[in-house]
């Protein structure tokens, strides 16, 4: 393969050796089997399989190996999007229909039946701007928490890092989020809500939210392999959780003495600040955003550690 270069700087001995080799009729670019296998070994990745353990080193290694599976993650995520609306009449409209329907219901209840303050904003815009990050959280979490259980067949027959499955659902959640955002843009234009430079804070806010979703997905998906109760409890849990987050009401309505406890829910800081930087054009409330970021970024590595330790024997119990 590597033909020695006949550069003039090559030593006389080497050049001579090359000539002798040619004279003997040995093709210079063909290696003996020993050489071939020795150099192939160098290039080959050595994989060591050991009993499972809760080790951060193992975690880092698998995180590094995840780069090889980017293609799989992309393919699977695209596949989910492609398959979801096959043989459905409304197709992609469903991604819009769900948040719109919720917006309509909450508008009727919380601005007509009973009056909830909406910080001077038209209630539909106020609630939709919170439903958007909330729906991302709730849909991505529901789908990814059962992702391992719904792919039993794959898990017992093929190996790939199992976190790819929940991650592919989170990726789908991002796409749904973007689709549903177009409605918010329309609502903001219609109600003349101006956007300011503070809207750039959406990027870190969404990063915090995504980190939290991934962490929680990994944890719940891994637990559900043993206990299907997780999947059964999800709808109820999410319903309660939504009312424990400032979706239909503003954070300002939460009594000050409860605020400390209330903010332990990262979704509180995320939803509130999402709405605040976008609709009110104010800088984020750093107390709530920092709490959410701190919890999310501490939680994610711990959840990953747990997931990787459980991964090793998932195929046995699923």
């Amino acid at each position: 393969m590597n033909r020695p270069s006949p550069a003039p700087t090559a030593s006389a001995e080497k050049a001579e050796g090359l000539i002798i080799g040619k004279d003997m009729g040995t093709p210079s670019d063909r290696r003996t089997p020993e050489e071939a296998s020795a150099s192939a070994t160098k290039a080959r990745r050595v994989k060591l399989i050991r009993p499972p353990s809760l080790s951060p080193v193992h975690c880092f290694r698998s995180l590094a190996s995840l780069t090889q599976y980017v293609d799989l993650l992309l393919t699977l995520s695209l596949h989910r999007l492609k398959v979801r609306y096959k043989q459905s009449l409304l197709g992609w409209a469903w991604a819009l229909l769900q948040p719109l329907a919720l917006m309509a219901i909450y508008t009727v209840i919380f601005s007509m039946v009973t009056k909830v303050p909406s910080e001077g904003l038209p209630y539909p815009v106020f609630v939709y701007a919170a439903l958007l990050p909330w729906a991302y959280f709730s849909n991505a979490l529901t789908a990814s928490a059962s992702s391992l259980v719904t792919h039993q067949q794959l898990i017992t027959k093929v190996y790939f890092p199992r976190e790819i499955l929940p991650l592919s659902y989170v990726a789908v959640g991002v796409v749904d989020f973007l689709v549903a955002s177009t409605v918010l843009a329309g609502l903001m234009i219609y109600h003349h809500v101006a956007i300011t430079a503070n809207a750039l804070y959406l990027v870190p806010i969404l990063l915090v939210e995504t980190a939290f979703i991934i962490g929680l997905s990994l944890l719940l998906a891994a637990i559900q392999v043993d206990f299907r109760d997780v999947g059964l409890a999800m709808p109820l849990l999410l319903q309660l959780w939504m009312f424990a987050s400032p979706v239909v009401y503003p954070l300002a309505q939460v009594p000050a003495r409860l605020r400390g406890v209330y903010l332990l829910n990262p979704m509180a800081g995320i939803v509130e600040n999402f709405r605040r930087v976008l609709l009110q054009g104010r800088p984020p409330d750093f107390e709530s955003l920092n709490t959410a970021a701190l919890i999310s970024f501490l939680f994610l590595p711990l959840a990953y550690l747990y997931f990787k330790a459980r991964e090793a024997t998932m195929a046995d119990v699923i």
């Binding site: 050595v46 399989i49 799989l72 027959k157």
Partner: protein, 401 residues
């Protein structure tokens, strides 16, 4: 010599859950919680495995069901982790434990190539590069843009194998995958695997199809109850495996009926001359002998043999109660012989179940499933699903000049 795969003191324990208790009762709930954490039965699927596979070797692993063969593949392919020990692999591994992994019925053949290929570890680039070759190998070009739910089962498995055949691994793990498609496609699969072998790819092949093992493997491990009991050349290992006898020791207690009243002890196939046969011919005579022990008198007994194809279809049944006298068995050992003048099974591999039952009660005294594997080779070559013994005579004919 480079070692591509090395197992060093590998053990695998499975925890068996206790039988589910009634979820409605309060005690059942407590018991379920307890059984989650306390009362789990251990089962060692493999214990103390030590072997090495040098580069370019094709290693076969054979053994009865439950011997731990599939566990070996699952461990090496990282599907599940060992309980103890260490496995070292050099290079890229591809494992084929089923055909059509990750296929989605709604997607077209082409879309599924990308999906399944990605799941099996191919990059998009590689799949693009091999797309035509995959489609041609599977012989499904006219249907490539049709959803796979409209495929025939043959097309489905051909596509599945074709994707796997285009993986480019350093170490290839195969589990019974040759049991797909018609015999022409099976030949093609074997050809493909032999090609990979010539490219110095290390192969671990698990199969009940001894003839395929014989063609593909350089070395064979015989496993029994989680251990390697024989490690040698293909011929010796297969001979050793055959000498093991096909019967696993069973407990004398039938969990359903208390103490077993009777049990099957042996099964042998003989050819027309009465010699033991392991390979049989379509259209040739066949005799099958079932040995049994009755522990008490059984006034109305029946024996059956079931021949299952590797496609898991039941191809044929032999029974004592379709014709002939009624069997009234006294206590003690005995033997029944079935004989068949012209075997109707077409060439292929069949897995045989033996059943001994009490007639009139629909109660099985003993059912030995998958207790023998036989290979039927082409004797009388006929086309069709099966060979039906027949005779013929001339009724009318033009006068010969």
């Amino acid at each position: 010599m480079t070692i591509d795969l090395k197992l060093d003191g590998v053990y695998k324990r499975y925890r068996i859950k206790q039988a589910e208790t009634d979820p409605r009762s309060a005690m059942g709930f407590v018991r379920r919680i307890r059984s989650r954490f306390l009362h789990r039965q251990d089962f060692w699927a493999v214990s103390d495995l030590n072997f090495e596979v040098p580069r370019g070797q094709a290693l076969g692993v054979i053994g009865h069901n439950g011997a731990g063969k599939s566990t070996v593949l699952k461990l090496v392919s990282s599907i599940t982790a060992p309980t103890r020990g260490e496995i070292t692999i050099q290079g890229r591994v591809a494992a084929l434990l089923e055909v059509g992994s990750g296929f989605h019925p709604e997607l077209t053949g082409r879309e599924n190539i990308f999906l399944s290929g990605a799941i099996l570890g191919m990059r998009r680039k590689e799949i693009h590069a091999n797309l035509d070759s995959i489609i041609d190998f599977a012989e499904i070009r006219p249907f490539i843009d049709v959803p796979v739910k409209r495929y025939s089962s043959g097309m489905y498995v051909r596509l599945g194998f074709s994707i796997a055949a285009h993986l480019n691994p350093d170490v290839l793990l195969l589990d019974e995958v040759l049991a797909v498609g018609d015999s022409a496609f099976q030949q093609k699969c074997i050809q493909r695997i032999l090609e990979l072998k010539h490219r110095s790819i290390t192969i671990v092949f698990i199969s009940h199809d001894l003839s395929a093992v014989e063609r593909l493997c350089d070395r064979v491990l015989v496993m029994q109850r989680g251990n390697v009991i024989f490690d040698g050349g293909t011929g010796e290992s297969i001979a050793h495996y055959r000498s093991l006898g096909q019967f696993q020791a069973r407990s004398m207690v039938n969990p359903l009926a208390g103490v077993r009243e009777a049990e099957i002890t042996s099964l042998a196939f003989l050819d027309g001359e009465g010699n033991t046969a392991s390979s049989l011919l379509t259209g040739a005579p066949l005799r099958a002998r079932i040995g049994y022990v009755a522990h008490e008198r059984i006034p109305a007994a029946g024996f059956s043999l079931f021949f299952w194809g590797l496609d898991t279809r039941l191809h044929c049944q032999f029974s004592t109660f379709l014709s002939g006298p009624r069997l009234d068995l006294g206590p003690g050992p005995g033997m029944v012989e079935f004989s068949c003048e012209e075997l109707g099974l077409q060439p292929g591999v069949y897995v045989v179940d033996v059943n001994m039952e009490r007639l009139g009660k629909a109660e099985n005294l003993d059912y030995q499933s998958r207790c023998a594997t036989i290979q039927v080779s082409a004797g009388k070559r006929v086309r069709g699903e099966f060979f039906s013994p027949h005779s013929w005579r001339m009724l009318e004919q033009g006068k010969a000049r």
